[in-house]
Subunit: 405 residues, 2 copies
Amino acid sequence: MALIVQKFGGSSVANAERVLNVAQRVVDIHQQGNQVVVVLSAQGDTTDELIEKAMEINEKPSKREMDMLLSTGEQISISLMSMAIAKLGFQAISLTGYQAGIFTDGTYSNARIEKIDGSRVRSELDAGKIVIVAGFQGMNKNGDITTLGRGGSDTTAVALAAALQADFCEIYTDVDGVYTADPRVVPNARKLRDVSFDEMLELACMGARVLHNRSVELAKKYNVNMVVRSSLNDHEGTLVREVTEMEKMMIKGVAYDKDIARISIIAVRDIPGVAFKIFKLLADVDINVDIILQSIGRGDTKDISFTIARSQLVDAVDLINKNLDYIGAKEVNFTRDVAKVSIVGAGMANHPGVAAAMFEALAEADINIHMISTSEIKISCLVRWDEAEKAVQAIHKRFGLDKEI
Amino acid sequence: MALIVQKFGGSSVANAERVLNVAQRVVDIHQQGNQVVVVLSAQGDTTDELIEKAMEINEKPSKREMDMLLSTGEQISISLMSMAIAKLGFQAISLTGYQAGIFTDGTYSNARIEKIDGSRVRSELDAGKIVIVAGFQGMNKNGDITTLGRGGSDTTAVALAAALQADFCEIYTDVDGVYTADPRVVPNARKLRDVSFDEMLELACMGARVLHNRSVELAKKYNVNMVVRSSLNDHEGTLVREVTEMEKMMIKGVAYDKDIARISIIAVRDIPGVAFKIFKLLADVDINVDIILQSIGRGDTKDISFTIARSQLVDAVDLINKNLDYIGAKEVNFTRDVAKVSIVGAGMANHPGVAAAMFEALAEADINIHMISTSEIKISCLVRWDEAEKAVQAIHKRFGLDKEI
């Protein structure tokens, strides 16, 4: 008998028919002799509708009250799922975040889970019930409802799996699993059987938005076996887990991200503390920086370039322009004509020639590289925005990712 | 400085505009230097929509899961109201039933409040906030959400007023207050300035469905001053309170109820325990009996008649027919062609001539009386269904209820 946590997103429970379909799937796993905990998001557009209701009344609502409002979405989903399972003749019980013992810090709308008291969930499982838990929500120490922010339901599922020491945490999505590249760009992209946490983190960062990073980080921390699979079929999915074959190098996939922009700060004085000043300024207004590249100094100045999400470009450039004197820089320039293409795979650092092969593939496709950044398990290149897909295809082919290794 | 609990129903908060209107009203009272607790129902049709969602999935959902589902309706209302008050520049905080310390027994869908811990509400009030509480809901000792059943939000408001020792509990409705008769039937019906708890209970029972009985009973038990007033205007409303002028007789109103049916059990053996058998049978299947009349025995048999809600007629007659032998009766007959007309007023029992005056008014209007029942503060007559309105008009006129006394 295994203990399995299954998470279904909003589109999987968008209407009565889909709720009943998911219920059948859950019951099947239960009937195979497993204990099952189901974590759900709000139905379809419910969250958007609730946000609209709020905006009609107050375009700047307090985060506490938004959490009070939005948490009803998941509560509706779980009660309906419990009714659906009962309809199929099985025992189920729905639990809100706090009833499932999910305690968070006090950061409304973006709370972090501090502790899970799994006793209620355990005792309901031991009583033979399928337990349905509201994703995305918890309770702070004042007894107030908090929500977990983006990717919140995935985080709930992984955190529960960790607390309950579940055998698997299955994340159901609208894709079959994690692919070597986006199948819309590379038609013969191959589904991976497994991928390590670190590789998954890099792939997620790189625009392969199958899993939210936060849930993968949590899974890594508590060594939870995650499975990404489709709610539309019975295909096996991709297992995300602790790496097992440390020495074997394998390129796991090619990812790309077109939602970025590049900023360069030109002729910064080459003295200690400059980078700190720049990135502290950005961090203070919650602008997330991705790749950072610093040129080798020329005389007594150097250039610092970095990428950020496109939506934050204007704010970031404004902020830096206002602080050029404070930073000690001459000017700032930026471009939106940029995309990031990356290959991800553990052990890459110890296999020379991988980077060269990637650059060769790009050169043969006549694609110019604007910036390069490497880590233990990935190599990223900035290329022109409209060349991203072509770059992914060239690299995917060069590494033979369509073939099972 | 007074502490006022205000309850608004679902139609008063049905959309953004109405929510903001109610918020303005609440803020006005707050600005007059009062502490305000607002109790809300679910918006407009929300509850019906949620019930429909459930029915699409499972036409016999468990009551626990229905409570989990339906309680989201009030949670949406309170968060929106809190946002609306914030929009007007005042501090507010929304609290679910359990956050407001409302603890109930374990009867899902029809729970009774066992205890209120008002400490959270008090401390939020003392911090200068307007406190918005979800009506209709509480929590049982397992930490599960319960709902209070019909009239639940009124009950929440009165129970909170009692626990907080509020000065007034204002129930906002779509009428100005309690009238001497239904203004649709008696155009010159007069609004009462005040009415006692007992009178209100009789009026409510008699079909004047301004307040739910359960809330009035609770108000009586804890001596909470209730005010019934309109959410659409600033008229004064009707104060429902402990009777003050015990000896003064005053007819408070004429009420009628057309949603009843009459059952008679014929030739019951005239021995002890028969009435118990009949009404225990009915009580066991939750059929509420209203007026009971037992004829004087003829020989060794007697007849027992009673009225019930029309919707329960078929079930009740079936049940009695099946148990005629057990009851020791010969036959049962029934009619839907019946309505109940009542006059209500404290001190009636000590003022002979009231009953006579009522019967006289009916006789002059050529209305036959089918059954009579009296209590300390009311006299009820059964008349033909289609004569109810005429009867109310005749009695209202006879007692001069259109004139302020």
